[in-house]
Symmetry: C2
DNA sequence: CCTACCGATCGGTAGG
DNA sequence: CCTACCGATCGGTAGG
């Protein structure tokens, strides 16, 4: 519901109606509205963190690490479509955990940039604008949830192949 | 303010404080909170519409049309950073104009896909998944506002070159 | 998990 | 552009 209407616009009464309870009864299951947002977003932050940590310590060339990160993000998106949809904009409504969430995202992006730089140094990637390329790849992945929820019939292996090809090799002949 | 806090979370009292008025006085300048969102988003819808209409009727190869659309989107983003930031998620809070806004977006996407298909047929683009590629390119462009607002020092011509290169030719050597 | 209800805050209006 | 204020609705609590 946060996904469709946004965190602020979704009321506890909306949620109660959806699960078939009176609004007051919700508080036997959760501590607050904020709590729901926190648990969804911090769970994701952990998944992204696991992915980057695991990838960094693998003994493979940077370009392969890049592919690994793209594939991990596709898996995370597919397995958490609703939660992932909150990442682009609803994280601004985090309260206590906002700083922690931003830190985690910055760590992820820094590691991503480092891998990009190494891949350029290895001559596997062309000389490119690191900042712009990081943004370009990550923003496509950040939005994948919206595409996937409209195209769930696509084979996942095919999706992984096509999307990493698009992001790394481009679309020109 | 809609951009930073979201439409719902931004109150008329917030806006009044920002412009140095009492909340009630705002209504001498606008009809409603909804009105502000509408005018920002429908103005953008018109800009995107102009871009696609102008591009379609030009007598240039599809691959060039694609480049033209990318460059137009970069220009629109740079000239309307705040308004563009509402496109990814805040449009859901449109009321009367929501349907019209969605229609416009669908028209844009349909035209974009058609151009992609023609470019594939011309052998300028490799055989690719039209839906996935449309999503991939447009989601990067849809998010450009957030990158640009953090990197305003970048030369605009350079940005156009680098980004269209990334999106069309990829990043591999 | 419910009924009953709270203080706070919302978008907006009346009237000057 | 202000003071004063409205009905509606919000997240959440008390008490059972």
């Amino acid at each position: 519901m946060f996904r469709k209407r946004g965190y602020t616009a979704t009321t506890m009464r909306d949620i109660a109606r959806e699960v078939g309870m009176e609004p007051a009864s919700l508080y036997n299951h959760i501590r607050s509205k904020q709590d729901i947002l926190e648990s969804a977003l911090m769970h994701l932050a952990n998944l992204y963190n696991d992915s980057i940590q695991n990838t960094i310590k693998q003994n493979i060339p940077p370009i392969k690490k890049l592919e690994q990160l793209i594939i991990d993000q596709i898996d995370i998106t597919i397995n958490n479509v609703d939660a992932v949809s909150l990442v682009p904009s609803e994280w601004v409504h985090l309260e206590q955990f906002k700083g922690k969430f931003i830190d985690r995202r910055n760590e992820y992006e820094s590691s991503f940039k480092l891998i990009l730089k190494q891949a350029v140094k290895d001559n596997d990637l062309r000389s490119l604008d690191i900042e712009l390329t990081t943004f370009s790849i990550l923003s496509t992945l950040r939005y994948l949830h919206s595409w996937y929820s409209r195209n769930k019939e696509m084979d996942i292996e095919n999706l992984k192949n096509e999307l990493s090809k698009n992001l790394l090799e481009g679309i020109k002949n």
